[in-house]
């Protein structure tokens, strides 16, 4: 023990760091901030440390070459002892990191911590969020599988829409004319050197400001922030009712960090690593690429935007969003901090949370995508074929062969791209069905060129049977009258 103490003394005599570390550790923080609500920032930092360690461990085996990366991941998963577990830790660590950073941001926003004098801390925090998402995206690319390959294509397609500079940005991003070796190499450089370097630098500045300016006090309804008086009030508060950060508040950070690390470890153990999915061979086109969890919402948004809105929304939306976040502390730098008196702030968070959850949920199920193999895999339910005429059954066959089932469901089975057709005969008359099938419309392709008159007749005959028993199918009321008149006039006036 004495030896350790003397070594520490020897080191400190040369490093001269002991006193400043002690001072930082024991600086006074307001008593209420020793709260479980204040543990997310440190937890994000701890997960980042885990990412650095597991990332370095993965780099011992991983080969950043388009020709070898996928094989080296297979080696990690299959051959290297516990290679799968390190991959799983890194993958789950990534998800936890994004989640914790988002929770931290929500807490900081709701507690008004971005207000004076912590504007820059917030701004650096916004960049940290973007950098964390950058790590998540570049990391997804390094798992160089089908999803990564086509995900890069999606990234390139979005980047290409930038006016004038689009093609140049794409080439810069891909490192050449196509997604290939140079692309993976530059994403490796980004993921391993550039972005983590930025992350470390920004975290350092972020932490420095938290220590220098003091942690945000617990917001009390009615205790308003005023630039003229805030600093004085804050110091009085910490002097009157403060406690040293170590050990007063830090124990909760430590407990939560351990809990988070254990959770990452448990998820990694139970759920295993992410992928890799199929090899990055662009000639294998039987694939339905999907991004990682935290980008699913964007994937969903991209399928719902009308074509004309897409480019403006993609290019202007993020700029406005980031600008809004950056300007927030300048526009609302003073005033009420407590979320109890900031209903708009609470509603904003709720709106964003509900939207992101809804879009993520949709992204998981992709109802907008045709079910590529529905026509050959999912049979028409028996009830829809029972007691049908030969023509109607022929129509059911056309329904399958022409891949209608890929977009339309029957008995809740099949694609969800178009409306379910279980009761289509209630909605459309025979003429309307014929028109819809031949001309398409309402986001449905026209099948006129791909259906013979006989096939159309059979298909429509089948579609006309699709209505609940006991309910009459839709009929054009004028039709019977016209037909009747035609028959009567034909009978009375034979020519």
């Amino acid at each position: 023990m004495r030896l350790i103490a003397s070594i520490a003394e020897w080191l400190d005599a040369r490093l001269q760091l002991g006193s400043s570390i002690r001072e930082t550790a024991q600086h006074e923080v307001p008593r209420e901030t020793a709260s479980w609500f204040y543990v997310f920032g440190s937890a994000a930092f701890v997960v980042f440390m885990l990412q650095i360690v597991t990332g370095i461990l993965l780099a011992l085996i991983y080969v950043p070459s388009a020709a070898e990366a996928w094989n080296s991941l297979q080696t990690l998963n299959q051959s290297v002892p516990l290679g799968w577990y390190i991959r799983a830790l890194h993958g789950w660590g990534s998800n936890f990191m994004v989640a914790i950073v988002l929770i931290h941001m929500v807490q900081v926003f709701l507690f008004g911590a971005y207000k004076y004098p912590r504007e820059l801390t917030w701004i650096v925090g916004v960049f940290l969020l973007l950098i964390t998402l950058g790590m998540a995206f570049t990391g997804q690319v390094l798992r160089f599988d089908q999803d990564a390959y086509w995900g890069l294509g999606i990234g390139a397609s979005i980047a290409s829409r930038v006016p004038l500079l689009g093609p140049a940005i794409v080439h810069l991003m891909l490192g050449g004319p196509i997604i290939a070796g140079a692309t993976l190499s530059r994403f490796f450089a980004l993921h391993v050197f550039v972005v983590p370097g930025l992350l470390i630098a920004f975290v350092a500045v972020h932490l420095l400001m938290v220590v220098k300016l003091g942690i945000n006090e617990w917001p009390m309804p009615g205790r308003l922030v005023r630039k003229a008086t805030y600093t004085k009030e804050y110091h009085e508060l910490t002097k009157k009712d403060g406690l040293p950060f170590v050990p007063g508040a830090v124990w909760k950070d430590l407990f939560f960090a351990a809990f988070v690390l254990l959770s990452v470890g448990a998820c990694a153990y139970y759920f295993g690593p992410f992928g890799p999915s199929g090899p990055p061979d662009p000639t294998i086109i039987q694939t339905a690429p999907k991004p990682d969890f935290f980008f699913l919402w964007l994937y969903a948004v991209l399928s719902f935007l009308p074509p004309s809105m897409e480019t403006p929304v993609l290019l202007i939306g993020p700029v406005l969003g980031i600008l809004g976040l950056l300007l927030l502390p300048f526009v609302f730098g003073e005033g009420e901090k407590s979320w109890r008196r900031r209903p708009v702030a609470v509603l904003t968070i709720l709106l964003v949370a509900v939207s992101l959850t809804a879009f993520t949920q949709l992204g998981l199920h992709t109802p907008w995508s045709p079910l590529m193999d529905a026509w050959s895999r999912i049979p028409i339910p028996r009830d829809f074929l029972h007691n049908r005429t030969a023509l109607e059954r022929q129509g059911a066959l056309v329904f399958q062969v022409k891949q209608c089932h890929n977009c339309h469901s029957l008995g809740d089975e099949g694609g969800k791209r178009g409306p379910a057709l279980d009761a289509v005969a209630l909605r459309l008359t025979q003429d309307q069905l014929i028109r819809q099938v031949i001309q398409g419309g309402g986001n449905m392709p026209a099948y006129g060129k791909n259906l013979s008159p006989a096939e159309t007749t059979a298909l429509v005959a089948f579609l006309e049977t699709l209505h609940p028993a006991g309910q009459r199918p839709a009929q054009d009321a004028s039709r019977s009258i016209v037909l009747e008149e035609h028959t009567t006039s034909g009978a009375s006036n034979p020519q």
Partner: protein, 183 residues
């Protein structure tokens, strides 16, 4: 320019030192920038595109649309399989062809051909195209990207090398083009 009266010799040397470093910085920055921008600058000289063979005409029966693959003309040893690119070849009538990029005009996912319904469908966001590549439904703003093609000694060749994106489509437009005679 007047020299401030209180400028000492050491201060002057320090300033000269800063200027020297700035000059050296610029000198070093030029090659670094050129290196970084090489994928863009090379593009400008248009050395990317070249004619590649998709195979003999017998592989593409008249009236049918078939998947073809080619090795990208711009290739490095580390590219592996990523340099193998797929495309759809439509033999319209035995004389004229259409060669479509595999990438959806929306966000680049690989479209699949369904001969029975005569549609290309995209698995990502549900874009659909007719057999001639024109947009049928879904989020794409335009039809499928097309490659220029020519026929040489019973071989079908296309002009390729770049990932077609909405901002920089491949060479040919999606409009109806002059049909090239079969050589």
């Amino acid at each position: 320019m007047t020299v401030p009266a209180d400028l000492t010799r050491r201060q002057l040397f320090m300033k000269i030192g800063i200027v020297l470093n700035s000059i050296v910085g610029v000198i070093l920055a030029a090659p670094i920038l050129r290196y970084l921008l090489s994928p863009v600058v090379r593009d400008r000289s248009k050395t990317f595109d070249s004619w590649v063979a998709l195979g003999g005409l017998e592989q593409f029966p008249s009236g049918e649309t078939r998947l073809a693959t080619y090795r990208n003309p711009v290739v490095t040893p580390s590219d592996g399989q990523t340099a193998d690119i797929a495309c759809w070849v439509r033999n319209i009538d035995g004389k004229s062809f259409q060669v479509f990029a595999i990438n959806c005009a929306h966000l680049g996912c690989p479209v699949r051909w369904f001969p029975h319904s005569g549609l290309f469908m995209c698995p990502c966001h549900g874009g659909a195209y007719y057999q001639d590549g024109s947009r049928a439904s879904g989020p794409p703003e335009r039809g499928l990207f097309q490659y220029d093609y020519r026929i040489e000694g019973r071989q079908l060749l296309i002009k390729a090398s770049q990932l077609p994106t909405p901002g920089q489509p491949s060479q040919a437009s999606n409009l109806v083009r002059e049909i090239q005679p079969c050589v």
